[in-house]
Amino acid sequence: MAAVIGDEITEDVAPGPTRRANAGWRRLPVWRWVILAVVGAFFIIPLVAAVRFTGFSSFPAVFHQVGFSAAFELSVKLAFITTVATLVLMLPTVVYVHLRLPKLRRLMEGITILPIVIPPVVLIIGVLEVAPGFLKATPYLLALEYVVLAMPFAYRAFDAGLRALELQTLVEASQSLGAGWGTTMWRVLLPNLRSSLLSATVLTVALVLGEFTMASLDLYQTFPVWIVNFDQTSGPISVAASLLALVVTWIFLLAISTIGGRSRRGGGAEVSLFSVSRRVPPR
C-alpha cells in the first residue's frame, strides 16, 4: 500500500531528463567511433595482458594460498560491520534532516564531503594518534573508520532517494493511520527507499573490499593487503587474485544497475558521489 502511494507520487514529480533521444546510433559520426575504439583498447589490453600472464590454471590456485581465507574472511567481516553501522547511523539521520531540519541539508552535504577532502593516508595518521588502545588492538577500528569513508556515498544515496519522495506526505499519512515512528520507518520509508539502500550498501561493500591504504597502514591483512604481500612469492597468482577482485566489483555494480534499473523510480539508481548535480529540482 505504502509502496504504491510512493510510486505514484514519484512518477508525477520526478520526470526523466528532458533530453529527447533524437540522435540514434546510426548517426554517430566516424570520429566518435574512433575515440571509443582507442579508449576501449586502452581499457581492454591490460585485461587481456593480465589473463595471458596468469593463465587460467592460476585462478583455482588463489583459493588455496596461505592466508587467503583469513584475509578474505576479515574483509567480509569488515564489510558486514561497516555496512550495518553505516545504514543504522546514516538512514535515520538523513530522514531526520529531511523532515525536521531541511535547512541543514547544505551543511550536511558539506560535512559528508569532508572524508573526500581528507585523504585516507592522512586520516589514518590522525586516527592512530587519537584512537584508544583497546580499539587499536582490533581490526574493527578499521570498520569504524570505513563508516566515515562510506559516509559521502551513503549520504548522497539516501538524499537522492528521499528527494524523490513526498516524504512529509508519506509520514503524515502513515501517522494519521496510527503508525508510530518504528512502523513508519520500517513499513513505509524502507520499501520506498529500496534502491537507495541497495546502492548505499553496494558502494559501501565495494569500498571496504577494495580499501588498501588504511588497512595496510594499520597493519592488518585484509584481502587487498594480502594480495600485495603475497606478490613477493608468486606473480601469476597475485594477478589472478587481482582479476578476481575486479570481477567481484563488477558483479556488485552490475547488481545495482540491474536491480536499480528495474525499479528506477526510487531515485537512487545511478547514485555516485556526484549525482548531486542531477537532483530533482526543489519543490
Binding site: 600472464f53 534532516v97 531540519l101 586520516l123 577494495g210 595496510s216
Partner: protein, 285 residues
C-alpha cells in the same frame, strides 16, 4: 522556549554529530595540532612545516602536483569526449549502458589489482611492451618506465577517464536539445553552437569535474605504492613511510605537517569545485 525547542530538534542529529566528531574531527584536529608541535617535547614549533616545504618533501609536493595536474587535464578531455560520444547515442542503447557500467567498475578500480594489471601490460615482459618493441618503439628506450612518474601517469588514466565519464554525464544531460534546435533555427552551425551556447554552459561543469579528478589523483596512495613500492616521491607515499616507521626518530610530526599540507591543498581545490558547481547549477537542472 523557542531556543529549547530548537535544541531538542537538533538533538536528533546527536549520534551523527558524535560519530563524525570522533571518527573524523578528532583525527583531523590531532593532525593539525601535531603539525605545529615539536616531535621531541611537544612544544609549539614551525619547524615541521618548514621541513615539509623544503628538500625531499617539497619535491614530493611538486611531483604530486605535477602528476595530479596531468592526470586531471588529459583524462578530463578524453573522458569528456567519451561521454559526449555515448551521450549522443540513444538513451538506453546497449553501447551507452555498457560504457556507463564499465565506467562504474573502472572508476572504482584502483590500488593493487590495477598495478598488477599494468605490470602485465607495460612491465619489462608485458604484452604491450612486446608489441611496441616489435614495431621498434621499445617504451623503455623512449623514456618510459612503468615504475616511475611516467608510469604512474599512465596507470592513473585507467581510473581517471571513467571517473570523468561518470561525473560529466549528468552535466551533459543538462544540455537541452531545445537550445541546439533554437541555435540551428537562428542559423548557427555546430561551431557557433559550441562557441556561444554549449561551451559556456558546460565550462563550469567541465572545470569542476577536472578539479574533482585533481583531488582524486592527489590523494591516491594505494596504486602508486603498489606499483613503485614507494620509490617515487609522492607526498601520500612519504606520509605512508612515516607510519611504516621508515624515518629518523624525532621527525614523526613532519608526517603530520605533510598531511596538514595535503588537507589545505585539497580544501582549496574543493572550495573552487563548490563555487563552479554553484555556477553550473544555474543552467543545469
Amino acid at each position: 522556549m523557542a531556543a529549547l525547542r530548537r535544541a531538542r530538534t537538533l538533538a536528533g542529529l546527536l549520534p551523527f554529530a558524535v560519530y563524525v566528531a570522533a571518527g573524523l574531527g578528532a583525527p583531523a584536529v590531532a593532525i593539525a595540532i601535531g603539525a605545529f608541535q615539536s616531535s621531541a617535547n611537544g612544544r609549539f614549533t614551525l619547524s615541521n612545516i618548514k621541513d615539509a616545504v623544503h628538500g625531499v618533501y617539497l619535491h614530493g609536493f611538486e611531483t604530486t602536483l605535477l602528476v595530479s595536474v596531468i592526470t586531471a587535464i588529459v583524462p578530463g578531455i578524453v573522458g569528456f569526449l567519451v561521454a559526449y560520444a555515448i551521450f549522443t547515442a540513444k538513451r538506453g542503447a546497449l553501447l551507452r549502458r555498457a560504457v556507463i557500467t564499465a565506467s562504474g567498475v573502472f572508476a572504482n578500480f584502483g590500488g593493487v589489482p590495477l598495478a598488477f594489471l599494468f605490470i602485465a601490460t607495460l612491465g619489462t615482459t608485458g604484452l604491450a611492451t612486446g608489441w611496441l618493441t616489435a614495431i621498434g618503439l621499445n617504451p623503455s628506450t623512449h623514456g618510459f618506465n612503468l615504475y616511475t612518474t611516467s608510469g604512474i601517469v599512465v596507470v592513473y588514466m585507467y581510473f581517471q577517464i571513467p571517473l570523468m565519464v561518470l561525473v560529466i554525464l549528468p552535466a551533459l544531460e543538462g544540455l537541452r536539445p531545445a537550445w541546439r534546435e533554437a541555435a540551428n533555427n537562428l542559423g548557427a552551425g555546430a561551431w557557433q553552437y559550441w562557441r556561444y551556447v554549449g561551451g559556456p554552459v558546460m565550462l563550469p561543469s567541465f572545470l569542476g569535474c577536472v578539479l574533482l579528478l585533481f583531488g582524486s589523483a592527489f590523494s591516491s596512495y594505494a596504486t602508486a605504492e603498489a606499483l613503485t613500492s614507494g620509490s617515487v616521491p609522492l607526498t601520500a607515499i612519504q606520509i605512508g613511510s612515516f607510519l611504516n616507521g621508515n624515518v629518523l626518530a624525532g621527525q614523526q610530526n613532519v608526517g603530520k605537517a605533510l598531511g596538514f599540507g595535503m588537507i589545505v591543498i585539497i580544501a582549496v581545490v574543493m572550495a573552487c569545485y563548490a563555487v563552479l558547481q554553484r555556477r553550473s547549477a544555474r543552467w543545469l537542472r
